[in-house]
């Protein structure tokens, strides 16, 4: 009767000798490492994904909370008010700088006129003004223009004409001026 050794294969494997320097072993090792690294990377990404999902849920819950919505609304209102302040401030500064035709101007203008002249017409549109005066003589017209020119009310004064009045004594003096404005 033949004697069978059922552990023959196992005993053979136990005696298997691995050559660590063989290309086959290195190739298998590289493949194994790649597989392990890939699996690890996938696991890592799965964990990151789960963490991100959890954090997103937390953030959504925070965003949906009444406290956050109220705080967010307040913050937006503060931003809007700040911007509003900026624009309104700019507009107000422009309005202030353009506000030159007032009682201060009228009062100061009256104060610089020689006593012998009389204003017949004034047309002041923003910074541009045209005045027509009745003056007794050209001397008075010259003094009038000099006073207007030297006042702080205008940046430029131009005498247009001094014409004698028809049927009456005296002259009409027309003066163009540019008001100081927007400074």
């Amino acid at each position: 009767m033949k004697d069978y050794n059922f552990f023959d294969e196992f005993q053979k494997r136990n005696k298997m000798h691995i050559n660590f320097a063989s290309p086959a072993f290195l190739g298998v090792l590289v493949i194994a490492l790649i597989i392990v690294f890939s699996a690890g990377l996938m696991l890592y990404n799965t964990i990151l994904g789960a963490r991100l999902t959890s954090m997103t849920k937390e953030l959504t819950a925070i965003h949906e909370s009444q406290e956050y919505q109220k705080a967010d609304e307040l913050q937006k209102k503060i931003g809007a008010l700040t911007e509003y302040d900026q624009y309104a401030g700019t507009a107000y500064e422009k309005i202030k700088s353009g506000d030159v035709l007032g009682t201060d101007f009228l009062y100061a203008f009256s104060r610089i006129l020689p006593s012998s002249v009389s204003l017949q017409n004034a047309s002041i549109n923003r910074a541009t003004a045209t005045f027509t005066f009745t003056v007794p003589n050209r001397q008075a017209a010259a003094e009038l223009v000099k006073h207007i020119d030297e006042s702080d009310l205008f940046v430029q004064t131009t005498l247009i004409s001094v014409v004698s009045q028809q049927g009456a004594t005296g002259y009409n003096a027309i003066i163009n001026s540019i008001l100081k404005a927007g400074e």
Binding site: P23, A24, L26, G27, V28, V30, I31, I34, F37, S38, L41, Y44, N45, L48, G49, R51, L52, M55, T56, L59, I62, H63, Y68, K70, A71, L74, Q75, K77, I78, L81, T82, Y84, D85, Y87, A88, A91, Y92, K94, I95, G98, D99, V100, L101, G102, L106, Y107, Q120, N121, A122, S123, I124, N125, R126, A127, T128, V155, K180, A181, G182, E183
Partner: protein, 251 residues
């Protein structure tokens, strides 16, 4: 497998190395690179979400401070811009100006109100264009004291600006024509407008002496900003006092 066993050991080794290289390439291209990119993106998303959560929590913690800040800012702006009208209503303005004209003796024979228009406030500048010529520059260099205080650059005589600027606000222009009015009345009317301490400016004054009185025109610009608080009040509201209702509208 049998064919694999039949080839020489050297070829077998080369085949294994080739297989390893192919597997490495495929893994690197289709598994490792996308995986590393994905983990980079995920890490970035996680960091951004963490920041967002931290910001949201901080916002919630500071909500009482924000409420106080918003309240203070709102009150400050209400006070700061109390000078502005918040609602340019033609009826209320007519009522107010009529009160002022009657009170100051302006005999208005026409009153025209424009529709409300939105524009950037026209910045009026008065300047003059000095005459520049070479010898003037030389003289300035020789004796600068003679030319001190004179503007050196040529300015536009009048310059307005328009455009899609964010500071555009509504404006209503009102033209008042008057006659048989004294200078004092015109002066007092303008003074009473100034005493409103509101954003109304006299855009144009025109007056001509006629038989001891003045006749002419006033153009007024009223500016407003949109209301942002319920406490803002222009002080222009009035209650009608004339009884309503009649049988014949022509009577």
């Amino acid at each position: 497998m049998k064919a694999f066993n039949n080839i020489s050991a050297r070829d077998r080794n080369l085949l294994i190395l080739l297989l390893a290289a192919i597997i490495f390439y495929l893994s690197y291209t289709f598994v490792l690179t996308p995986g590393i990119e994905k983990s980079g993106l995920l890490n970035g998303d996680i960091a951004a979400t963490q920041d967002e959560i931290a910001r949201a929590k901080e916002l919630i913690e500071n909500r009482n401070d924000l409420a106080r800040q918003e309240n203070k800012l709102r009150k400050d702006l209400v006070d700061k811009y109390a000078v502005f009208f918040t609602n340019l209503d033609q009826v209320e303005l007519l009522h107010k100006l009529d009160t002022l004209m009657t009170g100051t003796g302006i005999k208005a024979n026409s009153y025209m109100a424009s529709i409300l228009t939105v524009s950037s406030v026209e910045l009026e500048q008065g300047g003059f264009a000095p005459l520049n010529y070479p010898m003037l520059d030389l003289a300035k260099n020789i004796e600068p004291k003679l030319y001190e205080g004179e503007p050196s650059e040529q300015l536009a005589i009048t310059a307005g600006q328009e455009g899609d600027t964010p500071d555009r606000i509504p404006c209503m222009e009102i033209i008042i024509n008057y006659n048989t009015t004294s200078y004092d009345s015109v002066y007092n009317f303008i003074y009473s407008l100034e005493q409103l301490k509101k954003t109304v400016i006299v855009k144009s004054i025109d007056y001509t002496k006629q038989e001891g009185y003045l006749e002419g025109q006033l153009i007024l610009d009223f500016y407003s900003i949109p209301q942002f608080d319920t406490t803002q009040n222009d002080g222009l509201t009035f209650v009608p006092v004339i009884p309503q209702g009649k049988a014949n509208p022509f009577s």
